[in-house]
Symmetry: C2
Subunit: 292 residues, 2 copies
């Protein structure tokens, strides 16, 4: 059996990617993980494609210099806007958080007859990019092709004709999470405000298209009800990374719990304090890196 | 009479400084104005002092290269943390937004007998810096000294003993404004949530210690009531800049309406769209500048 003991690199514009880090750690306990949070330039959600590509490329360069075996773009905005570019320039495989979430949404919708409604919530930049709609449609085409070949009673055309994707930006969710929800009533009201139009459509599933949103999952679940399945992109990304490492003989050997190291571009105290809440345990090993 | 026809430079981390720009334009209609919004790295409010000094110095350098006669730091966070440094390195006078707001608060409090409570609201970084408390105390000392010399019946010691300053951070106000308030109920609830402890103290005045907050002024006024005077740092800064230019013979000559030019470090479309709301009229002449 082949192994690869190099670390996995994970990055985000700030803290949000820690929800992905948490899921990676959960199902890959022996891997060494390096996290980078671009806290000096956070958030990416309201910045241009060019700027996001520039920032993401700098971070990828930093991580590949550290000898990572794969990179995970644990940021939906960067995954939407910079992934294609990063894959072109990267010496190692690069994973985004959009594809795994989109894949799961399509899989869930396959079993539904009639209208299949997939809802996606994210930052303004993610929604504006249309990356989820595009990816879901691609996956739907591919998956239905495969299913058809396996003689499942659904055709590509039927599926795509009945597929509807609703994308909704919820720009206040990130500051709400970063401010520790303020209080339950305000959080509930903001969620209600954003999701009203989504809930009305009774979607089969709702993709949490921003790495901050899993922190709000319980609140969102209460609002949207049981008939809509909530898809956490972090969970799906972790699964797909694990499958890839297994398939290509790239898992770390042994059963020693993996090392963790965190880099930020600014203000490690705040990262430690808030990041601990994201990760569900205290964060140590935080180092500040200056890019300029 | 002496004149100086060079432009005035105004900068902020993003859009907020446009509320200051608006006030400057209102009382100095003939001046040429250059605005810089650091939209690629906005917000500053949750970043470290070192990072804010670095960003602010870069912008000051850009503006002085354009031949400005004075610079206005139209950002409370940068005024709190970077002003001393900027004044040391700048070839032209640098004005912040803290001193004029603090000065006005002290002037208003002079006429109050007994407890004099000044409330200040701002971003986490501004409040954490304690810049308003420090500046208000300095101004109070100076002003009372002056009043005493004029035989006004109030002593420096009495005044300072009865002076209480409440600083409260309201980090959700900025995203709320940038998201166009969402809706009235949520905005009202968030303001209520933050201001509850401030209102209880019945302050004589409330300083809007963030350039975004004037956009929320009507909502805040409704919540806090008539007995608390609201101080808009932008208005006070514009007044103090005008006085300075008059005193030192630095006003622009003639009565031709001044030119305006806007620079941003990212995404001029968003700046135009939202900035127009801040300024109360459409914005043209927006150019993107890349620092790196």
């Amino acid at each position: 059996m082949k192994f690869n003991n190099s670390p996995i690199g994970i990055f985000d514009s700030g803290l949000g990617g820690l929800t992905v880090f948490k899921e990676i750690r959960k199902i890959l306990p022996f891997e060494d993980l390096i996290y980078f949070g671009d806290t000096a330039r956070v958030p990416y959600g309201n910045k241009s494609k060019e700027t996001i590509i520039k920032y993401s490329s700098e971070i990828l360069g930093f991580l590949t210099d550290k000898g990572i075996k794969i990179a995970i773009v644990a940021c939906n905005t960067s995954s939407s806007l910079a992934l294609d570019y990063l894959r072109k320039i990267s010496p190692v495989p690069v994973f985004g958080v959009i594809e795994p979430g989109a894949q799961k949404a399509v899989e869930l919708s396959l079993n539904i007859s009639g209208r299949k409604i997939i809802a996606v919530i994210g930052t303004s930049a993610t929604v504006k990019s249309g990356a989820y709609s595009k990816t879901i449609k691609e996956k739907a085409g591919l998956l239905c092709g495969a299913k058809k070949a396996e003689a499942v009673n659904i055709s590509n055309i039927d599926f795509n004709e009945n597929l509807e994707i609703i994308e909704k930006s919820c720009p206040l969710f990130v500051p709400l999470v970063e401010e520790d929800f303020l209080n339950e009533e305000i959080t509930k009201n903001v969620i209600k405000y954003y999701l009203a139009s989504v809930i009305k459509e009774k979607p089969a599933c709702l993709v949490l298209g921003c790495t901050h949103y899993p922190i709000l999952k319980d609140f969102i679940e209460k609002e949207i009800g049981n008939s809509t399945e909530i898809i956490d992109s972090g969970v799906e990304t972790a699964r797909s990374v694990k499958n890839y490492l297994e398939e290509f003989g790239m898992l770390k050997s042994g059963t020693k719990y993996g090392n963790e190291i965190f880099f930020v571009s600014d203000d490690s105290e705040r990262f430690k304090e808030l990041g601990g809440k994201f990760l569900g345990r205290p964060i140590d090993n935080v180092y500040v890196v200056n890019f300029s």
